[in-house]
Each structure stands twice: as structure tokens, then as C-alpha cells.
């Protein structure tokens, strides 16, 4: 039987996939989406120190670790649904731990920039229907969000912008990516010079081209003027940016300068800016704590109330400093994606993992709790990258518990132990 599937891989959360329940195969989805719904190795059963146990036993052990820890780190949350994240915040508050999420090593600098500048954003729908100029800055959707271009931003057929011919696509990057090969204009910037290029564009657009030198960050002044002209003359423009801005020199300041450029462009025409979010619900991992306690990441509850300070409470900083004595890792794999200085600490402390798949964190985890795959075996709500909530579906039955059920039981057990 063929049924509709909502993809739970990247932040595009494509809602038009088709899943064949007999063949266990998807149609319409990209390489990433098809891999998400293909059969692969799962964590077979809950485990304590490598020994197979029941869900109840594993959850009891996990609760004991969290309650006995002075300050546990509860990290991950990007590949799970809002309902589970909500319970995660309550649990972190209860055990007086630190809540942090995958954006911490992804779009956290965007969050800091938005706190300073606000976010003149639109939805992917508005970009599809209206944007006659799209600038991909430091992102490579052809590899990270393969259907984004087709559905919203490159060849998408919109209401007002009818096809690829009516849309100008510009790529700004340090290398000629697969996305750059689709562009009408490719602007190659030297690594770490994005901030300066934004400043140069702001100067040109505000009528101060005379102060801009002949070359900025490896880009000639002529090319900058060409780019500035295209931007100023757009009817509706969008900058879609990625980790090229947030993970390189300048980080949050790069994004701040990009937003300032958008603010300036909005004096002449209509422009929006959006981060290209990675995991399907990394947006929710920030939005849910924001509506629960006011902050998006790096939140410490050790005093019983939430405090936000990334320099101290982000996962990488907490681990590097050794400021936690246990960790619960859910729906992510920090052992594969954190710098080795942070991974070292994870090897030393008790680690609880909740995840459908074995990964590098499984190798250091003391308690492993396998979970159902959202979008396939469990349902819930996720925020697409433009903060539009989308319901992801349950298609097949499973013996695995959902993150929501695991956390509910874990919370009960913790409350029991704490009295």
C-alpha cells in the first residue's frame, strides 16, 4: 500500500513523500529522505553496560543516574518532536541540569544574532511564490537540503515567480559547491571574509561605494557593485544562509551583519532572510524551550530557574570545562560531531542515550534506550526551518517506544526517586 509520508530528515520537512509499506521504499524523496526511510541496523533492545534489559529497567537506571548527578547535561533534541522536547525541558528543570540542543554546534550564532537584530523572515511558501532573487550564502542545499531548490527556491514554480527563468539565483561561498553550479551568479569569498563582504555591500547600497576598496574578501569591487544592484532592484529577495556564516570566523557577527544588510535593503524593496536548518526539528529544539522558559539553547537550571549563557552553559563549554557529571543524549550524536576535547568528558561520565540507531554515542553510553522513528513509527509535531509546524505521521507499527513515552516514564521515575 502507498501512503503519504512526511520526511523527518532535514529542516525542509518535505510533506509530499510517498511510502510503499510492502516494498519498504519511498518515492519522490531525495537521497537523504530515502535513506531515512530505508531499512537499517537498529539498537535491538534497551541496554545497561552492554547487557540487554527491559525498557523499565533501563529507565529506572537512567532515572537513578540523573537524580544522583549534581548537574547532568541533557543534550540533543533536534531529531525528535515538540511533544518530547517539552518533556525534556520539564525533566531538565526537575533534575536541575543543563538543557542544550544541536543548534549549539549549528545555528546557535544565528540565535545570538537574532537576539541583537531581530529576524526579518518570511516563509518558504512566500519565497517560492514571490522571490525573484534568491541568494544562497555559505550553504549548499543541493547536498544538505536536496529538494529545497525544487520545492521553494531555485526551480520552484510559484504564483508570481513562475519558473526558473523568472528567478535569479546567486551563490556566495568559499568553494564552487553543487549549488553554485546551479547559480546565475557565483561569488567566491575568501574563507573568513563574509563579514567584510556584507559591510561592503551595505556601503554600496547606502550610496557610499567610494569608501569600498578595489577588492574585499577576494571579491572585486565591480562584482560587489553588480551584486548590490541585483539586490536593490529585486522585487522580493531572500538570503538563505548556512553554516558558512555560523561556523567560520565572526560567527554570530556574520549573521548580524547579514541581517543589517536585509534591514537596509528593506528601505528600498522587500527582502527576507532565513537560516537553512539542518535536522528536521532542530527549529523545535529552540522554539519549544523558548516558549517553555524563554531561551533557545545553553540553558542552566542548576539554581532552580533558567539562566542563558552560552559561554558557560553550551554543551561544548560544559563538557570542555568538566561542568557536568552525567549526560542524557537524545536524538543526536555528539560523540561524532563535537570537538575531541568535549568527547573526552563524555567518555568519563555516565551517559544515557535515547536513539533509534546505534551511533558513536552508543559506544560510550552506559544506558542505551532505543526509540521509535518519528515520521515512520510514531507521530508528533515538528517545526520546519521557517518555523511552520508540521505534523509528522505514524505509518507502521513498532515494538519500540517513542521518545515521548520514554521521557514520560523517565520523568515519573525521577519524580518518584526525588519524592
Amino acid at each position: 500500500m502507498e501512503v503519504n509520508v512526511v520526511c523527518t530528515f532535514c529542516g525542509s520537512v518535505c510533506d509530499d513523500g510517498i511510502f510503499d509499506t510492502e516494498k519498504f521504499k519511498t518515492k519522490r524523496l531525495c537521497k537523504l529522505g530515502s535513506s531515512k526511510f530505508s531499512k537499517k541496523e537498529r539498537i535491538k533492545s534497551p541496554m545497561i553496560d552492554g547487557k540487554e534489559v527491559s525498557y523499565e529497567e533501563a529507565i529506572a537506571k537512567a532515572a537513578e543516574i540523573l537524580v544522583n548527578a549534581k548537574r547532568p547535561l541533557l543534550y540533543g533534541w533536534a531529531s525528535t518532536v515538540n511533544e518530547a522536547i517539552r518533556l525534556g525541558i520539564i525533566l531538565t528543570e526537575k533534575v536541575r541540569g543543563v538543557y542544550d540542543q544541536c543548534a549549539s554546534v549549528c545555528h546557535a550564532p544565528s540565535i545570538l544574532a537574532v537576539i541583537e537584530e531581530g529576524l526579518p523572515a518570511g516563509t518558504l511558501g512566500s519565497i517560492k511564490n514571490r522571490a525573484d532573487v534568491v541568494v544562497f550564502w555559505g550553504c549548499n542545499p543541493m547536498e544538505a537540503h536536496p529538494r529545497h531548490g525544487m520545492r521553494y527556491s531555485i526551480s520552484a514554480k510559484g504564483l508570481l515567480v513562475k519558473d526558473r527563468k523568472e528567478r535569479k539565483v546567486i551563490v556566495v561561498d568559499v568553494r564552487e559547491t553543487r549549488t553554485a553550479r546551479q547559480a546565475d551568479l557565483f561569488v567566491q569569498v575568501k574563507p573568513g571574509y563574509d563579514y567584510l563582504v556584507f559591510s561592503a555591500l551595505r556601503a554600496i547600497i547606502s550610496g557610499n561605494a567610494d569608501v569600498v576598496p578595489d577588492e574585499v574578501g577576494g571579491v572585486s569591487k565591480d562584482k560587489l557593485i553588480e551584486l548590490a544592484d541585483i539586490m536593490k532592484n529585486a522585487k522580493y529577495g531572500a538570503i538563505l544562509y548556512g553554516l558558512g556564516l555560523t561556523q567560520s570566523r565572526g560567527r554570530d557577527r556574520n549573521v548580524e551583519n547579514a541581517i543589517k544588510l536585509i534591514q537596509l535593503l528593506n528601505r528600498y524593496t522587500r527582502w527576507v532572510i532565513l537560516p537553512m536548518r539542518g535536522h528536521y526539528n532542530v527549529t523545535g529544539a529552540g522554539e519549544v524551550p523558548a516558549w517553555e522558559c524563554g531561551y533557545q539553547y545553553a540553558i542552566d537550571f542548576s539554581r532552580g530557574y533558567p539562566r542563558f549563557y552560552p559561554n558557560e552553559f553550551s554543551a561544548v563549554e560544559v563538557l570542555k570545562r568538566g561542568d557536568c557529571d552525567a549526560a542524557l543524549i537524545i536524538a543526536s550524536d555528539p560523540v561524532a560531531h563535537f570537538p575531541k576535547e568535549a568527547v573526552k568528558k563524555l567518555k568519563e561520565i555516565p551517559v544515557i542515550q535515547i536513539d533509534p540507531f546505534p551511533n558513536m554515542t552508543t559506544l560510550v553510553a552506559n544506558v542505551v534506550i532505543p526509540s521509535a522513528i518519528y515520521g515512520l513509527e510514531a507521530e508528533g509535531t515538528a517545526y520546519r526551518m521557517d518555523v511552520i509546524p508540521i505534523r509528522v505521521k505514524k505509518i507502521i507499527d513498532t515494538e519500540y517506544w517513542s521518545d515521548e513515552k520514554i521521557l514520560e516514564e523517565l520523568l515519573k521515575k525521577v519524580e518518584e526517586l526525588m519524592g
Binding site: 531515512k36 541496523e41 561556523q247 563535537f338 573526552k344 560510550v364
Partner: protein, 118 residues
């Protein structure tokens, strides 16, 4: 100058990290043709990537990068050599780290060996 980032193959294997496919998808460095030839490399040769923060042995691949730029897919190999400082943001510097790259006879570690060595 070393940068890291996503690739299609890295993404497609990211939920199967203990497999050969994931190992293949993340244990290489892309170099410009000029740098590749200057190091006298053949496709599949191994190189040692050294930065102020660590070193790692990976396979070398030729690509269309500009001269002086190197790219390792995000993952455990890249994380041996990136800058862990977050400048107060929580975000390590995964892109734009100065690196020295040289040909080597040493083996490329498996994902598990890499973790054991930390």
C-alpha cells in the same frame, strides 16, 4: 585553510555511523588539483592533516577547490583537527582552521579506533 561541511553521502549514512559506508563518507580530505599534484599524490593515498589542535590521517581526494583550501566532511575525522574554542557562542570553529597537510604511510583509523584514541 581547512573547512568542514555536509555532503550528500555523509547525510545518507549519518544514521549508520558504524558501517563501512559512513567510514568512506567522512574519512577523506578534498584538495585542489594544484595542491594534490604538489604533494605528489595518487587518488586514495593517505595524508596527515595537522592543525594547532590535533592531527588526523585521512584519504586524499582531488576536487575543484581553490588552491590552499581543504575540505573534510563533518564528522569524527574533521573533529580531530578543528578549533574547539567557541568565543562565548557555544560554537566551535568548524570552518577556517589553518592546517598543514603531508603525505603519510600511516593507516586511516576506523571510527572506533578514533574514539578509543581520544
Amino acid at each position: 585553510m581547512l573547512i568542514t561541511g555536509r555532503t550528500l553521502d555523509q547525510g545518507a549514512t549519518v544514521e549508520e555511523k558504524l558501517t563501512e559506508e559512513y567510514f568512506k563518507a567522512v574519512s577523506y580530505v578534498e584538495l585542489s588539483e594544484e595542491d594534490f599534484n604538489a604533494l605528489n599524490l595518487q587518488e586514495g593515498d593517505r595524508v596527515k592533516v595537522k592543525t594547532d589542535f590535533g592531527e588526523v590521517v585521512v584519504f586524499a581526494k582531488k576536487s575543484n577547490l581553490p588552491k590552499g583550501l581543504a575540505f573534510i566532511p563533518m564528522g569524527p575525522y574533521a573533529n580531530q583537527v578543528i578549533d574547539p574554542a567557541t568565543d562565548g557562542t557555544g560554537m566551535p570553529q568548524y570552518k577556517g582552521v589553518k592546517a598543514v597537510i603531508e603525505k603519510t604511510d600511516e593507516n586511516v583509523k576506523s571510527v572506533k579506533e578514533l574514539l578509543e584514541a581520544i
